[in-house]
């Protein structure tokens, strides 16, 4: 019998359902695992054991008395620290919000509670989700459970590390340019960015509103599908949330891939892609082919502009979204202020100067510049035009194929500190993921192998908007037909 933290989502669910496993036992096991490993990995920034156990007991009690239980059946879930929970510190990995407790629950938190998820705690992230390594958090660096010298990726590094290390079977992250898929790839777990509008952003602290999307992390595709099912759906509080039917994602696995058309993009296999990653990804695609899919080349001619486009749009929106953190209403306010000598502008500058880290400041400055009079047309407006082209490329490609398959990131997990002083190199680690955000399409990272150094490699699958069902079916096939990467050793 494998340890609880090694078991598949399906086996945990069936044990819970059969009464062989209580939510309290499972939750306690998770809390023990967190106790044991969090000092080393720093995946969780806060854990609320009492609330988690109380919820677990409530679910167990209802199960014992034969009442209906929600879809999550008492499975423990971790939540990225940019998703609001009433009365729980939600810091976004920033000194700016170190003391901030939202007075309300995010839509996804309401959904987790309603479907009997047991929320265990808040997960570390790059400050305001700006980063690809979970090194910029005010709560410190998160480490990769496969090798603590390496980064778990980011910005949802805490979520990926927690799931990989068996601290929780499920977690919620957010993905603005790859922030779910890249850490999932680095940590050898499944991570999915849904279609833009599939999941309500109400209660997700905004980084770049037109790109942000909440999505699931899990040990396996089944878990990701289950969690997606729980958080999806229309929410009138987010006008960009789309009223589109949410299918029963978990009920559609084990279907043949016969007739599934998979596209590969030649541009993916150019300069910068690590050889071992390329080999593993190609093997992954071959396996889908031998399972019945057909593979053909597709063109995404504007994809090479996606990093440049992204780094105009995302910082522009961020510079506006983060302007509210001014030290007046909530969050960090400077101590270095004397109303006799200092003006309002000093209060703003010092509060923001102290509250934000270097990467956040860099992006605020980039965005402010791009939106400034005289530059707007050349930068922001042009970026929007390119974004439209990128979207059109995908529309054309998806007229020919159902799935586009390729790498998640150019390399496996890099070393902590390796790219901290080279922002451009850091930005390029999202080169394969950000076009999905620009186009609004769903994407998923599924483990497809290990490097010779024992670090996981992810295979990225993308589909057209609102084709999550197809995407998850293909991902499930890639998963069952793949080399198992084995259980994370938590070195």
């Amino acid at each position: 019998m494998p340890e609880l933290y090694e078991q598949s989502t399906e086996s945990l669910l069936s044990a819970l359902n059969a009464g062989d496993l209580s939510s309290r036992t499972l939750t306690t096991a998770c809390l023990d695992r967190i106790d044991q490993l969090n000092k080393k990995l720093n995946a969780f920034v806060s854990v609320n054991a009492d609330a988690a156990l109380a919820k677990a007991d409530a679910v167990d009690k209802r199960r014992a008395t034969g009442q209906t239980i929600g879809l999550l059946q008492g499975l423990p879930v971790g939540v990225k620290d940019n998703i609001c929970q009433a009365g729980v510190a939600t810091t976004c990995g920033s000194r700016m919000l170190h003391n901030y407790c939202p007075p309300y629950d995010a839509h996804v938190v309401e959904q987790l509670n309603a479907e009997d998820g047991v929320i265990v705690g808040q997960l570390n992230m790059d400050e305001f989700a700006m980063g690809s390594s979970t090194e910029t958090s005010a709560s410190g660096v998160t480490r990769n459970p496969w090798n603590p010298e390496h980064s778990p990726g980011g910005s949802s590094g805490g979520a990926a590390a927690a799931v990989a290390a068996g601290m929780v079977p499920l977690a919620l992250g957010s993905d603005t340019g790859g922030s779910i898929r890249q850490p999932a790839s680095f940590c050898g777990v499944v991570g999915m960015k849904p279609t833009y509008g599939r999941v309500s952003r109400f209660g997700l602290v905004a980084f770049a509103s037109s790109l942000d999307q909440i999505g699931p992390f899990a040990r396996d595709v089944h878990g990701a599908a289950l969690l997606l099912q729980v958080i999806s759906g229309h929410d009138t509080r987010d006008t960009t949330s789309v009223d589109s039917v949410v299918a029963n994602y978990t009920g559609q696995f084990n279907q043949s891939l016969e007739g599934l058309r998979i596209g590969i993009v030649d541009e993916h296999y150019g300069e910068g892609l690590d050889d071992e990653v390329e080999a593993a990804v190609r093997r992954g695609i071959e396996r889908l082919e031998s399972a019945g899919a057909t593979v053909k080349s597709v063109k995404l001619p504007h994809a090479r502009y996606s990093v440049a486009t992204y780094y105009l749009i995302a910082p522009s929106e961020a510079s506006s979204n983060l302007a509210r953190y001014d030290g007046i209403h909530y969050g960090h306010r400077t101590e270095d202020f004397n109303s006799r000598n200092d003006g309002l502008i000093d209060l703003y500058c010092r509060s923001r100067g102290e509250g934000f880290g270097a990467e956040v400041k860099r992006r605020i400055m980039l965005g402010t510049y791009a939106l400034s009079a005289g530059y707007y047309d050349a930068y922001y407006l042009k970026a929007l035009k390119v974004r439209r082209r990128i979207r059109e490329d995908f529309d054309k490609a998806f007229a020919e194929v159902d799935i586009i398959a390729g790498p998640v990131a150019p390399t496996a997990a890099f070393r902590i500190g390796e790219k901290m002083n080279d922002p451009l190199a850091m930005y390029l680690s999202d080169i394969y993921t950000i076009s999905a955000n620009l186009a609004g399409i769903p994407g998923i990272s599924v483990p497809c192998g290990l490097t010779t150094n024992g670090l996981p490699i992810g295979l990225q699958l993308q589909a057209s908007t609102f084709s999550e069902t197809t995407l998850l079916q293909a991902a499930a096939m890639a998963e069952t037909s793949g080399d198992t990467i084995g259980v994370c050793p938590v070195a």
């Binding site: 309300y104 952003r201 109400f202 905004a206 509103s209 960009t240 506006s320 007046i328 502008i345 707007y376």
Partner: protein, 499 residues
């Protein structure tokens, strides 16, 4: 006298708070409530992290209604933009507004050029756009240097900005434009237009076109006037500013090319405008489309639904009052200028009595005088339109003299003071007691007696001195209480001439 040496150029920006139950992007109450700061707030209007705006469709429809009443073009696509600046009363550090694609543009509002109904002037409206209001910074006014506070009750209130073309040519014209605008907004029921509570605000852009001797024209720098909290203040501030700019130009010769737009405030106590320090350097608002809000796409039929819901505008009503009820332009303007309450009262009285001229005389003289004296609204006025209409019906059917009607009216007012209920039946009874006597036999006898008693006066009348009937009329009226003086006079003259 030479012709004026300059032309005054004025454009107005009117901000009006829309009368909705809830705010523009959240469900908080939209109410003026300065005594309980920060009680009408939620994560959305507080700008808390993660909160998202959702457009209040009712506010949008009210804006649409206004724009249609202002004869604007309504594009089928409009979007929301963020106007970014830092200020404590702006919790998101941006205001959700509309920048390059407002929901309406190119309209007009007609104003009469003077009180006697001179030629109508059409003032063009550049655009009207919808935005959210900011909160209010609250400072210690005791001078003790206490902490400043921020009240966010007003944050997110729907605010309609209506921008005119620089078509206005004098301060009094600007005032009439504002009065006409206010009347319109009240009639279509989109705003309370209460300047004291800030639900109607106005900024004015003012400059001069100096006419040079060589026939060319020089424009002075544009000044934006703020802080004017009444129409009278707007008028005074513009008048002051015109003189100031003229003497400034004579002194410095500075033109529009020498200075960008500056802001000056109006000091109502000292009756001067003064240079205002800007909040901060806000020349660049870094507008960009708000990614949290989907654009609004309108179909022609949706616009048509709102167009059909539009009540009669004041301008159309004014025309109708002239053609249908025989009112003068002046009288029609006086009634309508009093707002929808008085206008509805007037229309009910006309409906009951059937004569617009009599109704307008009574409403503008008696009713308005009494309302002003009592400082109460027309809804609380004890002599309701039913009662007045019933009374005036007696005049229009020539059964009651104006004088007797005034007696009845006075009795009704007295009863109202004592709090007695007054019914239509009471009015009928009081009027009947004073009914004009139709018994021509009695009248003829009284007239004959009067003629017989004053042969001297009879001679005068015969020679054309008609005013000589006066004393005889007095005798007849004394004798026959309910007689109609006009009728008595006519009968007297005709009987003398026939004798």
């Amino acid at each position: 006298m030479s012709s004026p040496s300059y032309t005054v150029i004025i454009g107005l920006e009117v901000h009006t708070q829309l009368k909705t139950n809830s705010k523009l992007f959240c469900s908080c109450a939209n109410e003026f409530n300065p005594d309980n700061p920060n009680t009408q707030t939620c994560p959305v209007c507080l700008g808390l992290p993660g909160a998202l705006p959702v457009m209040n469709r009712h506010a949008f429809d009210l804006s649409l209604k206004t724009a249609l009443a202002l004869n604007c073009t309504i594009p089928h696509f409009t979007k929301w933009d963020r106007k970014q600046y830092y200020y404590p009363d702006l919790p998101k550090a941006y205001q959700i507004s509309q920048f390059d694609l407002p929901f309406s543009e190119n309209g007009w509002l007609e104003i009469t050029n003077d009180e006697d109904g001179g030629p109508v002037r059409r003032i063009n409206i550049t655009r009207a756009h919808l935005e959210e209001d900011a909160g209010k910074n609250v400072h210690d006014e005791s001078g003790q240097g206490g902490d400043s506070g921020v009240d966010l009750n007003r944050t997110g209130t729907p605010l309609l900005e209506i921008v005119s073309e620089p078509d206005l040519r004098s301060a009094s014209e600007a005032r009439r434009y504002l009065e006409e605008m206010r009347t319109l907004l009240l009639f279509i029921e989109v705003s309370d237009c209460n300047m004291q509570e800030g639900s109607l605000r106005c900024d004015a852009n003012v400059n001069l076109h100096i006419h040079n001797e060589d026939g060319t024209t020089t424009a002075t720098p544009i000044v934006e006037l703020k802080n004017m909290n009444s129409f009278r203040n707007v008028e005074m501030a513009i008048d002051y500013e015109v003189k100031r700019q003229h003497s400034e130009f004579k002194k410095t010769g500075k033109t529009i090319d020498d200075s960008s737009k500056v802001t000056r405030g109006w000091d109502a106590e000292r009756s001067v405008t003064f240079a205002q320090r800007e909040k901060e350097d806000v020349s660049d608002y870094r507008f960009f489309p708000d990614p949290d809000l989907v654009p609004v796409v309108l179909t022609e039929s949706e616009i048509e639904v709102v167009r059909r819901s539009l009540p009669e505008t004041p301008a159309v009503k004014r025309d109708r009052f002239r053609t249908e009820h025989g009112l003068t332009e002046y009288d029609a303007s006086v009634i309508i200028g009093q707002g929808p309450g008085i206008t509805a009262y007037f229309e009910a009285v006309v409906f009951a009595c059937g004569d617009g001229k009599i109704a307008v005389n009574w409403v503008t003289q008696d009713v308005l005088r009494d309302l002003n004296a009592s400082e109460s609204g027309v809804d609380d006025f004890p002599i309701t339109s039913d009662l007045l209409g019933t009374l005036l019906k007696w005049i229009t059917s020539e059964r009651l003299t104006n004088k007797s009607a005034r007696e009845v009216y006075a009795i009704l007012k007295k009863r109202a003071v004592t709090g007695d209920e007054i019914s239509v039946q009471d009015v009928e009874t009081l009027a009947a007691e004073r009914e004009i006597v139709r018994d021509t036999g009695a009248l003829e006898a009284a007239i004959a007696a009067a003629i017989a008693s004053r042969p001297d006066a009879v001679e005068d009348v015969k020679t054309g001195k008609l005013q000589a009937v006066g004393p005889m009329m007095g005798m007849v009226m004394k004798q026959v209480g309910g007689a109609d003086p006009k009728e008595v006079r006519a009968m007297l003259i005709s009987m003398i001439q026939d004798s």
